[in-house]
Symmetry: C2
Subunit: 156 residues, 2 copies
DNA sequence: CCGTAAAAAGACAAAATACTCCTTAATCTA
DNA sequence: TAGATTAAGGAGTATTTTGTCTTTTTACGG
């Protein structure tokens, strides 16, 4: 995709989220090949492969090799919250680190921005914890929302 | 500083914020040399110079060359909000871009996460808009809070 | 006017992130 | 068992961010 300045989530994380939503939307127990996902979502196949490996390593997805192989979610979409995916790919830094980059937020003496940042951080955490893949799929299907740049994506 | 994973703000932005808070804390109208700031805050002098240039370009600071030169804030600390500094250095991307990296958030057809993200984004914006440099200085002085890694910093 | 101190500007180096390509291992089908 | 298909693994490239270094410009102080 490229040309993205500074965002909340890394590109890898965004790809992981979109792939997870996609898998939750097809929702039968069959494996879907990463090639298929990358084509549907217009993401580099090789890069997506690496990203999804992190999700299989973290037991959010499971994979099978060979013909008819691919990846699938280990649990139904309403049992997977966004925070799990973000944590698996980007780590928890955004929810634990000091806004001024000082080491040991929460344990060491705070910085002047700590109180405000802690509150804001909680809002982010809450959003990522309360939103499930199922929520996004339901909303996406109901409003025929966009999951790719061009919006040519068709919900299952 | 190094080794920072994925954060809300870039390193450059964090340095700019810390330098701004420092300048607001000394608060007389004299210029402070960037060398002095970099030593007080333990930030690379050359890198900080480049960061502060963005702030002078955006009329948040003004500078003077030569002996007795340096930088200072253009306005008192209670008239400068954090958002100005963040916008000058990192841009407004974090407050305008789609959480899933799709182009045209707000104008184009939304993505499934848009509603939640828009709310969270507003919280971030509100925090950055309501907090002034003066707020941080007051809090920092009152609690002798930390502005450097080691916490050896002394408020004026 | 001269020397010095400081920011500005620009070239360069290192590290992290984003992305590509090739090989290997596993699994299915015939 | 052989061939095809697909994920996994690893090496390599490109771009951005971070950081360093050197030179130039501007202002002060004598
Ligand atoms: S110490 Fe800075 S945000 Fe917690
Ligand atoms: S379109 Fe994705 S957050 Fe607005």
């Amino acid at each position: 995709m490229l040309f993205v300045d500074f965002m909340l989530l890394s590109s890898a994380c965004v790809y992981g989220l979109r792939a997870s939503v996609y898998l939750a939307s097809v929702s039968d127990d069959s494996y879907v090949s990463i090639t298929k996902i990358s084509e549907e979502l217009d993401i580099s196949r090789h890069f997506l492969t690496k990203v999804l490996q992190k999700l299989t390593d973290n037991d959010i997805m499971e994979s099978m090799k060979g013909p008819k192989g691919g990846v699938r979610l280990t649990r139904p979409g309403d049992e997977i919250v966004l925070l799990e995916i973000v944590a698996a790919i980007d780590g928890m830094d955004i929810l634990t680190e000091c806004a001024l980059g000082l080491p040991g937020c929460g344990t060491a003496k705070p910085c002047p921005i700590h109180d405000q940042w802690a509150d804001t951080r909680d809002e982010i955490r809450q959003m990522l914890t309360e939103t499930t893949l199922r929520n996004l799929v339901d909303r996406g299907k109901a409003g025929n929302l966009r999951l790719t740049e061009e919006g040519e994506f068709k919900w299952a």
